[in-house]
Amino acid sequence: MSIAGRFAIAGVYEHPSRFSPDKSEFQIMAECAKGALDDAGLQLSDVDGLFAASMTMGAMGIIDLAEYLNLKPNYLDGTNIGGSSFVAHVIHASAAINAGLCDVALVLYGSTAASSSMAIGTGGRGGAGPAESFISPYGMTTVGSYALYAQLHMNRYGTTSEQLAEIAVAARYHASMNPNAKMRQPITVDDVMSSRVISTPLHLLDCCIISDGGGAVIVTSLERARDLRKKPVIVLGAGEAAVHQEIGSPDLLTIAAKQSGAKAFGRAGLTPAEMDFAMLYDSFTITVLATLENLGFCQPGEGGDFVSGGRIKLGGELPLNLDGGGLSSNHPGMRGIFLVIEATKQLRGEGDVRQVQGARLACVHGTGGTIGDKHSGATLILGVE
């Protein structure tokens, strides 16, 4: 039986801090857990499924986290497929609840990426092992990987740096309405174009910021969620996928969103055109453009036009990343959980001055890893009754 329409997000919380040198990852997660449980009207003792990933949690990290919270869950899921992990956790939680393996799933993320001075975008990628040896000799960076994609897109379709800049401008406009956002001063296309080039064709302002932060999401059955404090936000459709270099010659411009999005929209029985807004992982401006095309919001090559002319700003046809996204609000290394949190707030009507009026349907898509090498994608279609 499909999970579509029978499971819901019952509680969310985003940590307000963007710099927490005095806190550990697990402490941030615990503070977020309290926030989300309060939001839902639940207690820690109600939680019987634990889902988490972080920049530093290793193979047994989910058990370390269970100990930190003194939880003895019936279901543990430490899936780490990069920044999309938490979108995938919501899907996995729905499946676990559907199977009767747990009732109340707590999804957690916490990070001190900024206060630990992690060089995420322009540190070297790849280790010294045999598999990484095909990457590490060549100076791959996270920015560089996305730049490989952007260069190809511009070459094939004539996409311009000015069009990519529109995505950063819209994110900053939304961040200007988010009191917790790290970067709130509005910017222009010219500001993006005149910022220094990190890796051609991507400028500094095409890149996400680095912050600390964390979040929590509670998933339960729709039936139970209806009895809790807040309006349930229902999982209407879901899909996951991975894209890699295959046996040497995939089309680089096809990202995981194409496969996961088709599954998610198909399972929901909905189309991109029916979405009131979208929360799309914005590690870089090009990530958003690639995601829009691969999810089917526009055709391949049309992304540049799609993001122009105010369409993706609040009040436009498809407002994107209403919290300011990773480009301006927060990006503590993995930001998939914030996509789910902001989508939930918007669908409940809790968007305050950045509320999408009348929002009832949303598409959430997380990208984990890098689209110029290998990555995961997780898509959720969310809605309210």
């Binding site: 060089a119 322009t122 045999p130 490989l148 260069q151 990190i198 991507l202 040497g248």
Partner: protein, 140 residues
């Protein structure tokens, strides 16, 4: 004048040894499945198309085309920080597979998608006795 890239030393497993030893001889070595004929890269202990373990290695021509690239102006990692700006690229080999690489021996601003390139091998001082080299590409 910027410094040359100091490539981190590649390490091989038994599955990937053929590639790096080939580079040490000045060859781009690819795998072909003796069972289904599929050419694959990166190297594996099995054919990822039919799962046969009967794999042969062969020397590719070393000729290829730039599929996409980026001129990297910022990389904090040792060996690259001093070499910025450098060109990282995917090159599609004549035989089909693509390799991640650097384009060297030219002004970074002259690299374009579709440019014809050929393999160029950087030999390295190693203290483990391995005769590996790092394949890069230069304009034809």
């Amino acid at each position: 004048m910027m410094a040359e890239i100091q490539h981190p030393l590649p390490n091989a497993s038994w599955e990937t040894r053929g590639y790096w030893e080939g580079a040490g001889r000045g060859e781009i070595v690819l795998q072909r499945c003796r069972s289904c004929g599929t050419v694959q890269h990166k190297p594996r202990g099995v054919c990822a198309t039919c799962l046969s373990g009967d794999i042969e290695h062969f020397a590719a021509s070393g000729q290829g085309t730039v599929y996409t690239f980026t001129v990297t102006n910022q990389n904090m990692a040792k060996g690259f920080a001093e070499a910025c700006p450098y060109v990282m690229a995917y090159v599609t080999l004549e035989e089909g597979p693509r390799v991640l690489t650097n384009i060297v021996g030219c002004d970074p601003d002259t690299v374009i998608i579709g440019m014809k390139v050929k393999a160029d091998f950087a030999t390295q001082e190693r203290d483990d006795g391995e005769a590996f080299a790092v394949p890069r590409f230069t304009p034809v």
